[in-house]
Amino acid sequence: MAFDEMKSADGGVRPAFRAYEDWLLSMPPDLLPRKNEQADALFRRLGITFAVYGDQEGTERLIPFDPIPRILAAREWKRLSDGCCQRVRALNAFLKDLYHDQEIINAGVIPAERVFGNGLYRPEMNGLSVARDVYIHIAGIDVVRTGEDEFFVLEDNLRSPSGVSYMLENRAMMMRLFPDLFTRYSVAAVDSYPDQLLRNLRAVAPAACTGEPTVVVMTPGYYNSAYFEHAFLAEQMGVELVEGRDLFVEDGLVYMRTTQGPKRVDVIYRRIDDDFLDPAAFNPHSSLGVRGLLEAYRSGGVTLANAIGTGVADDKATYIHVPDMVRFYLGEEPILSNVPTWRLEREDERKYVLERLPELVVKEVQGAGGYGMLVGPTSTKAEIEDFRARILANPANYIAQPTLSLSTVPTLVDKGIAPRHVDLRPYVLMGETATLVPGGLTRVALREGSLVVNSSQGGGTKDTWVLENDPC
C-alpha cells in the first residue's frame, strides 16, 4: 500500500487536508469536473501548451491540470527546503572543485574515470572562474515520498530544468477557480520566483559589465516544447527573449540585434543545451547557437546561467556520490537521502539486479523525460527481456533502483476522485546563497497504478501548497 498524503491507513484524514475535505463535502459533487473544464478552456486560451516531439502535426497540447491541490505541512516543507538547498550547495561546490583543484578526486571520494569519462564533462571549463562561483543558478530537484517522513531525492536537474512556469500558472489558476479555498488556508506565496531569479541573474554579471547588467532569456525558438515557459519567464522578469540568431559576438562581448543597433548583453539565462550553444566550439551543425559564445564566456565577457558543463553533476552515475559531496564539502550529514542505487557496471551488483529485473526500475545513466527506462513491475516479460539484452550490451550505461512506492494524492479522474502517484520538483535558485520559493511542481501519474509522472508519458500537474502554519 502506497502512502497516501490525504488519508492515513486507518481511513482518517491527515491534518493538512482536513479543511480541504470539509470544504469539498460542502460543495456540489459536480463542482470539480466543472471547474476542471473551465481550467482546460482557460489554459488553452492562454496558450499554456507544450509541443510534442515526434508529432508530425506539431500539435500543441495542454499538460493535464488536476484541480485538487497537494498540501504539504510547514514542517514537512522545512525539511525538504533545507535538504534541497544543502544538496545544491554541495553540487555547486563539486562543480567548482571539479573544474579547478579536483580535491574530491584526489581524496578518492569519487573515482576519476567516473567524471572524466563522462560525455557531459566539459574540459573547456577547466580553470575557468565563473561569477560569484555560481555554476548552478537554477536547479530542479526531483523528490519522491514513500512515507510520513520518508523523502528521497530521485534526480538532480542541473542543466535547464523546466516546469517552474506551471508552478506559477497552476497557482494563479487555483486562485481563480477556488478563491474561497484560499480563505480557509494560509498558503505560502510563490509569486516571488521571477523577482528572485532576476535578482540572482543580475548579481552574476561578468567582470566586463560596468553599468547596469542586461539580462536575457535565450530560447531555441517557438517550436521548442518549453517555449511557453521561456516566454513566460522573460515576460515576468521584463527582459528580452532572444534566439541565437538575435545575438552575435564581437571582440569578446555579446550583443543583440535591436531596432536601435547592437546592444550589449551581460547575462544569458539560456534554455538551450551546451551542445547547441556555439557552433564554433560544440556541435558545428547547431543553428540555434551563437558563433564565438564560448570564447566570450571564457574571457569573462558574458555570464551563462547555468554554467557550461553542469551536466556532469546531474548524471545518474554521479548522483550516487551526492551524499558524499555533502559530507566532503559542507561537513554536514545529508538531510535528504538518495534512493539506493545499483551500478550495473559492477559485476556483483549487475548479477543482483539481473536476477530481480521484474521488481526493479532500471534507467539509462543520461536518460531523461521518462524515456529509456524500465519499470519492472508494470512491464511485460518481453519488455524485460529486451531490456536485459540492452543492459548486457552496455552495462555501464545503466543503473537500477528499487521500485519505490510513490506517495499518492487524491486526484480527479473519470470515475470521481481516486489516489494517484506523485512526485515533486522544487526549484532552487543560487545567487549569494541558495534559496527556494515555498512550492514546486507536483507531477501526477494520471493512469491508475502508474509510477511514471512525466508529461511526455501521460502525466499531469497539481498546484503544490506549502502551509504557512500547520494545523494543530
Partner: protein, 309 residues
C-alpha cells in the same frame, strides 16, 4: 527592442489588418453580386476579391471556374492560400506567439482565441453561420485586437511597430480597393452611370465610410467624390492620407534620420500637399499603381532600417 521582435510585431498587426480587410472585400463582392440583375454575370462580382488579395493565377490553376462558392472557399478558408482570412489569422497568431513575452497577455489571448475558433471552421459550418456573420466576427476580433493595444500598451517601440504594420497594410488595402474599378475615374468627370453608383456605394459601405461620405460630401455618390474621401480626407481613418499621417508620425518617432522616414515623409507630402485633380491627371489606375509601388518600397526600406539590422 530586438529587431526580430519588431519584425514579429509588425507582421502580427499587418496580418490582422489584412484579415479584416479581406472581409471588407468579400462584403463588397457579396453585396454587389446580390444587387446586380440576375440576368447578368453575378460571379464576375467576385473577381475583385481575387484581384485585390492576389492569387488570381493560383486560383485559376486550382479552381478554374469562378463562382461565389469557389472564391469564398479560396479567399476565406483555404489554408494553402497565403492571403486567405484563415492564413492571415494563423500568421497573426504565429507572430504573436513568437513575441508573447512582449505583448499584453490580453492581446495574445485574443489572437490565440480568434485563431482557435477560425481553425475549427469549414465550408458547411461557414454556410451555417452565414458569410456576413463570419465577416463581422473577424472584424470584431480585429477591433478587439486594436482596442487592447490602444487601451493597454505602453506607448513605446513595441506599440509603434504594431501600429506601423496596421497602417502600412491598411494603406495598401485601401489602395487596392480603390483600384478595382479604376477605369473611367478622371478629373472633371461628371456623368455617372448606375453601375458606378452601385459599385462606389458598396466600396464606401465596405470601409464603413458610407455615413462619413454623407457627412463630408452630402448628395449623390460619384466616383470622384468617393475617391476624394478615400484618398484625400485625413479625417477618415481608412483613407490613404490618414494612413500616411500615421506612418510618417510613427517613423519620425522611431528614427527621424532613417531613410524610410524620408520616404514616408515624401509619400505623405505628395498627398498632404497635393490636389486630387493633379494626382489623377493620368487617371486613377496609374495613381493607384504608383501608390502601391511606393508603399511596397517604403515597407522594404523599413525592413532594411529596423527589422533586419
Amino acid at each position: 527592442m530586438l529587431s526580430r521582435t519588431a519584425d514579429h510585431l509588425y507582421w502580427m498587426s499587418r496580418y490582422m489588418e489584412r484579415a479584416e480587410n479581406i472581409t471588407r472585400f468579400v462584403e463588397v463582392a457579396n453585396r454587389l453580386s446580390l444587387s446586380v440583375p440576375s440576368t447578368r454575370d453575378r460571379a464576375a462580382c467576385w473577381q475583385p476579391v481575387l484581384t485585390i488579395a492576389g492569387g488570381e493565377d493560383d486560383f485559376a490553376a486550382r479552381h478554374g471556374e469562378r463562382s461565389a462558392v469557389s472564391v469564398i472557399e479560396y479567399a476565406v478558408l483555404d489554408p494553402t492560400n497565403p492571403s486567405s482570412i484563415y492564413s492571415s489569422l494563423r500568421a497573426a497568431r504565429e507572430n504573436a506567439h513568437a513575441v508573447r513575452s512582449v505583448i499584453p497577455v490580453e492581446t495574445w489571448e485574443s489572437l490565440n482565441g480568434t485563431w482557435l475558433e477560425a481553425r475549427g471552421l469549414d465550408g458547411p459550418r461557414l454556410r451555417e453561420q452565414g458569410l456576413i456573420a463570419f465577416c463581422e466576427w473577424v472584424r470584431e476580433r480585429s477591433h478587439q485586437f486594436r482596442g487592447i493595444t490602444y487601451g493597454t500598451m505602453l506607448r513605446d517601440e513595441a506599440d509603434y511597430f504594431i501600429r506601423l504594420g496596421t497602417f502600412l497594410e491598411r494603406a495598401d488595402n485601401t489602395a487596392r480597393l480603390l483600384g478595382v474599378r479604376a477605369t473611367g475615374v478622371a478629373p472633371g468627370q461628371t456623368d455617372v452611370d448606375a453601375d458606378d453608383q452601385l459599385h462606389w456605394a458598396a466600396v464606401l459601405r465596405s470601409v464603413s465610410a458610407f455615413r462619413a461620405f454623407r457627412t463630408v460630401h452630402g448628395g449623390d455618390i460619384t466616383p470622384l467624390r468617393a475617391v476624394d474621401l478615400l484618398v484625400m480626407r485625413a479625417a477618415l481613418p481608412r483613407s490613404l492620407h490618414s494612413c500616411l499621417n500615421q506612418v510618417r508620425d510613427i517613423l519620425e518617432r522611431l528614427n527621424p534620420q532613417a531613410e524610410c522616414t524620408r520616404l514616408a515623409g515624401a509619400a505623405h507630402a505628395h498627398i498632404h500637399y497635393g490636389r486630387l485633380d493633379h494626382l489623377l491627371s493620368r487617371g486613377l489606375g496609374p495613381f493607384i499603381d504608383d501608390f502601391i509601388d511606393a508603399n511596397n518600397t517604403l515597407a522594404g526600406q523599413i525592413h532594411k532600417d529596423f527589422l533586419l539590422s
